[in-house]
Symmetry: C2
Subunit: 298 residues, 2 copies
């Protein structure tokens, strides 16, 4: 299976199909890269593309798509509801299989440098790749949006990590950074009492004292007459699914409530699941390379 890097760039075009296809084609063209999905939102006027593959090839696809976007999208004319600052607004790189967070960070710097130098676009490193704490959060980087970037780039604390200190009028500014894969994980409770789901969510989420890499919200599932702890696990390597699941079960018991099921929404890295097996079966010394499927394309 070899090393897999995921890339989920966001482009500031969600209406013109020709432009969208031309950008996505740049991903399709690259060998050893697999386009998983792309979806456009007309109100946001924005397209999100998802692809995975061999890390260096993924970088090539990301650069080519970014180059194409810089040629076909004119930010001076862009209108859309979603905050944005560039034709290629943001390029997250996500380590999936057999690569470290550090390696993904290194790749993001390589990509950012190339975009800055070859396309003459100011690039901010964000999230795990950020060069300073105030640059970790994408929303803070993007504050002021495209229209405010010419001024922002002149501020010392907002000097770009790569590329010129001046706005690229047509292509704007791009953020590049490594982040961990996000796992959407929901746990269902056999009660219709929303306050219980809310209390448990508060107990498990990092922002209110719970697990650092867990975001949680209590919601109602009206058609089933139950409530749910709806979560985004933003780094399963540090806050594993099983630990949060067990804690929710404990907290639920306190209210005389049971966990009746869980849901994993969308794509999930294999290791997020294998980690659970190893925990519950108390597996000693398991090596991923023992998984047959991991051997086929190594």
């Amino acid at each position: 299976m070899a090393r897999i890097l995921q890339c989920v760039p966001n482009f500031s075009e969600g209406r013109n199909k020709e432009v969208i296809e031309a950008i996505v084609d740049e991903v399709r063209k690259v060998d050893e890269v697999k386009l998983l999905d792309y979806s456009s939102d007309k109100d946001h006027n924005r397209t999100v593309v998802t692809f995975i593959g061999e890390p260096e090839r993924v970088l090539e696809a990301a650069f080519n798509a970014c180059k194409k976007a810089s040629e076909l999208i004119d930010m001076t004319k862009h209108i859309g509801e979603h905050p944005r600052m560039g034709a290629t607004d943001v390029i997250p790189l996500i380590p999936i299989s057999d690569i470290t967070e550090e390696y993904a960070i290194e790749m993001s710097k390589k990509l950012g440098k190339r975009i800055g130098e070859e396309l003459n676009i100011p690039v901010y490193l964000y999230e795990k790749s950020a060069s300073a704490p105030h640059r970790e959060n994408l929303a803070k980087i993007r504050k002021g949006q495209y229209e405010g970037m010419a001024e922002k780039l002149k501020e010392e604390e907002w000097a770009p990590d790569f590329g010129p200190n001046e706005l690229n009028i047509k292509a704007g500014v791009t953020a590049v950074g490594a982040r961990m894969p996000l796992v959407a994980f929901n746990v269902n409770l056999d009660t219709d009492d929303l306050s219980i789901a809310k209390k448990i969510s508060k107990a498990v989420r990092g922002s209110s004292g719970g697990f650092a890499y867990c975001k949680a919200l209590g919601i109602e599932i009206k058609e089933r007459n139950i409530v749910q702890v709806s979560m985004n696990m933003v780094d399963y390597t540090k806050t594993p699914l099983y630990r949060v699941f067990d804690m929710i079960e404990r907290e639920a018991n306190r209210y005389g409530v049971n966990v009746i099921g869980s849901e994993i929404i969308g794509l999930v890295p294999m290791n997020a699941l294998i980690d659970c097996t190893n925990y519950y079966l108390k597996v000693e010394d398991f090596d991923e390379s023992q998984i047959l499927e991991k051997r086929i394309f190594e």
Copy 2:
């Protein structure tokens, strides 16, 4: 990741390196097939080859290796400690990913037919592919070994499934069949009392009334001063690892003993592990295609 079939043929040559390499080369040569391992035993005078890949290509590799073995191995001169009946003694086909047991059976019949017709070798279908219950067990098919096969093939109940009713003097007889992947799974207990491991093994293994597809043995791990329930899980789709693990934990508690860990030895199909995660996290409606790694080479 696409569909994966595994093949683990056994050849009656474990000493002559040139012959062994020539046979293994037939596997190496085939595209979309990955050679995982091959190991020879001089006393047994036998080589076991393990490879996986796209099902039709795996069949091609198996046939070519079998053909090469029929050309280079002369069974009239074979001496070895392991029971054997042919140059290619046995070819197990094992469904690993995105293929059913039924499909693996179908593949085994296709391969057996081709070996019988093109190489003029009598072929018995065994295990899940067996054409009658008395032919399921390989040991029963092989009873009498190469030297007894000329006579055995004449018996009505031992007529071959494919190929001639007469022994192929040089290449002998070959068994082909589908079987499920075997998972070697051990559970460690915090006691040095072997009788407890033996009692628990008896409780969980199919042959003494336990789980149908579990073989179990109580053994001592002297260097750790503990005992172990050592198991072969011969069909994890029907007897899942988590069910046996939970039962062992329950039985152990009865004797005031705890499970301190488990071991998965050698290769394991991803699904045998994912099934455990789905069980313990009570995951509703999970689809394998949600696993990112499964998407890359689909």
